[in-house]
Amino acid sequence: MNTHSSAPLSYHGEKGPLFSLAFKTALLTLITLGIYRFWQKTRIRKYIWSSIDMGGDRLEYTGTGLEKLLGFFIAVLFLAVYLGAIQMGLFYFGFSMMVDPQTASYEEMIGYLIAIYASFFAVLPFLLFAVYRARRYKMARTRFRGIRFGMDNGAWGYVGRALLYWLLSILTLFILSPLAMFKLEKYMADRSYYGSGRIEQGGKWTALYKYALHMFIGIVLLAGGAGAGAALQNEALMIIGMVVGYIWFFVGITYFQIRSFAYLMENKTLNGEIGFTCEPKTGTVIKHYIVGGLIVGLIIGVIAAILGAGVSIIAGAMLSGGNVDPMMFTILPIIIGVVIYLPLLVLAQALALVFITQPIIAHIVETTAVTNADALNRITQRETERGVDADGFADALDVGGAI
């Protein structure tokens, strides 16, 4: 029907510029004790967004570092009181539940464990809240052809549904996790807009099962291999079962993530008339994970070996000087940490962004196309989204992905 004008997306980000951007901004973040991270995130997003092209037009990220700083202050105002008090209250609860591990009864140990996990559940609603708000902020600060994307406010509705669906999937040993995934994506997608055009998530949650098959086989192999090996007292069987199961599971879960993303994408419509095709290859994504991982590991390994040798020579020279100052044992690890470990970690992150994350984004973008793209011309502008917290909660609660 309306497939007469299909417009493919393309990705134009390069390794060199992204690496120098990521490394430079990460060092600035380190030097400023974390304050620059709001601008770091902004600049990396601007780069990646503007690398995505459709018909000569680039996506645009309009978020600013300053508004993220402000959003962070607001989140801190809320969370400082809540988290500080809750955490200590729960710790007290755990403390008073604290039992002597040598003499504790089974019930006492269970109570102790519950007390420990309670602190996680006290923060969980806020984590989910932050997940929704972070996506909303990303949408509100993305533009294409001068038109804003946007998302309705519905964070607490999301929190309730997410708690419910994930509880359901845990109770069914994750067999219902495709249901949770589909419903939550639909909740968010149905509240999203491009200009005046509303996005709608079609499709059925049961369709995700055919992509989940290999993930479940991997789990069965892992558990079955371990179980059978233990029952038969056969270590070889156990190891083979677990290795095969683990690889099967890793490939299976990647396949599931990629295929279900593609399915959800292909079943989204914009304004009831614009659609998407999305055909990423699982093999290509796994290749990027493995090759990228090897490259990052190799570079970091070589640098760490060189630096490590240097440090041990210096330390050796200092210690052989006789007069060993006990203070050195306190200060030396801190110096090594600051001078070597942290910059190395920063470097590893920048390399991972360049060699793993960006190639995967590029692959997904380049296998995606917009159908009936001519209909985009009928989309009109939408109002500015107000009251977004600019990732403040996500930042304060450490929620968020690679970018």
Binding site: H12, A26, T29, L30, G34, R37, T42, K46, Y47, I48, S50, S51, G56, D57, R58, T62, T64, L66, L70, F72, F73, V76, L77, L79, A80, V81, L83, G84, A85, Q87, M88, G89, Y92, F95, S96, M98, D100, P101, Q102, R143, R145, G146, R148, G195, M327, T330, G337, L345, V346, L376, N377, I379, T380, Q381, E383, R386, D395, A396, D398, G400
Partner: protein, 376 residues
């Protein structure tokens, strides 16, 4: 150079306008005109701004300064230029092309929120959390505190290299008796809330610590370096003071709250954990310094009540000072007050003491010193 062809998005619809761009005859406006764009636009050159940080090397996207409700004061319209000569011209002639424009009052707003956030955090760290920790420590049942203390002591032992629980603990009948005698002498004139339980760990470190609930641990190094039993007694009195003041318990409660808060503030960037750790250490240092001062005074009082010469306590600090080679850790980093000051205080106190008697006789003292010697 001008004029040139470009794409234009008017910020009202997603439709593309193919436009002709030229410099107005007044030389301070850009004329943008096209078949689909009516009326033609005249953008002042001084208001032109380009999108920053784009990955697009061959294109330049222009917008202009405008008062909007958006995150930045920019017109939603976009002029997309791909003509290299034109891009070059804009870069050369428009110095404010990449300028950041802030609304008036932005910094006041940031300062207000920053101030409020800082006040909230400081209130939590220095007023609410310590107060909560104090009252929680008071209502905590003692038997739970003792269980927690055992847990901490066991963890500490493992941390110091014990392969099995109790692997580092020294014990001999005569040594234990000497320690018990020392403890009784120190505490008999005091109304004690806790039953103090003393362990000696086989470790060369010159140190001792008190865990919640009455567990006190002394290292072999401390006893070996001491010249007289009074030195050990001074340290023991100091640790008993920590036990009685519930310092370890309060500290654990407060640290959990503030560590969580600090990690949140610093965020999840690389190295955040290390910085949060240093922050928490500096924070707890200021608390423990205060607690140490109080414990020192308590210890001196305890020594006085037991008629024990506090010169021993002073000598212990001299010893500690020697071991750091005179390199003092800056006081904001150190969890203890400067050792020199502590030694002086103990010596001044000793000068006022009159009827002191030895805390252990020579045989008992030697038994205590050899408590870690293997009997085989």
């Amino acid at each position: 150079m001008l004029p040139f062809q470009a794409h234009f998005y008017d910020g009202l619809t997603a439709g593309r306008h193919d436009v002709h761009v030229a410099l107005n005859s007044d030389r301070v406006h850009l004329d943008i005109s096209g078949d689909t764009l009516s009326p033609a636009l005249h953008w002042p050159l001084q208001d032109l701004r380009a999108l920053k940080g784009s990955a697009d090397r061959d294109g330049l996207t222009l917008t202009r300064v405008a008062e909007t409700d958006d995150e930045a004061p920019r017109d939603p319209a976009r002029l997309v230029i791909t003509d290299p000569a034109a891009i070059d011209w804009f870069h050369k002639t428009r110095p404010s092309l990449f300028k950041t424009d802030l609304r008036s009052g932005t910094f006041r707003k940031i300062a207000t929120y920053a101030g409020a956030a800082v006040v909230a955090v400081l209130m939590m760290l220095f007023v609410i959390l310590p107060a909560l920790a104090n009252s929680l420590a008071k209502i905590l049942p003692i038997e739970r505190e003792i269980a927690f203390g055992r847990h901490v002591t066991a963890q500490m032992e493992r941390f110091m290299g014990a392969s099995e629980l109790g692997g580092l603990r020294c014990s001999s009948p005569e040594g234990d008796a000497a320690i018990a005698k020392m403890l009784t002498r120190l505490t008999e004139n005091h109304d004690m809330h806790y039953d103090v339980e003393i362990h000696v760990f086989d470790h060369p470190m010159l140190n001792a610590f008190a865990a919640p609930g009455g567990q006190v641990v002394m290292m072999r190094g401390l006893i070996e370096e001491a010249e007289r039993a009074e030195e050990v007694a001074g340290v023991l009195a100091h640790e008993i003071a920590h036990v009685e003041n519930r310092d370890a318990t309060r500290h654990a409660l407060r640290a959990t709250g503030s560590a969580g808060l600090l990690t949140m503030l610093i965020g999840d960037f690389t190295g955040a954990a290390a910085i949060a750790l240093i922050g928490e250490h500096m924070l707890s240092a200021s608390y423990t310094r205060e607690a140490e001062g109080i414990a020192d005074e308590f210890a001196l009082e305890m020594l006085a009540n037991a008629d024990v010469d506090s010169n021993g306590f002073a000598r212990f600090f001299d010893e500690l000072g020697e071991h750091t080679h005179g390199v003092e850790i800056p006081s904001y980093l150190s969890t203890h007050p400067a050792t020199g000051d502590r030694a002086d205080k103990a010596r001044a106190f000793a000068a006022q003491q009159s009827d002191t008697r030895p805390i252990l006789n020579e045989t008992e003292w030697q038994a205590m010193r050899s408590i870690c010697d293997k009997s085989d």
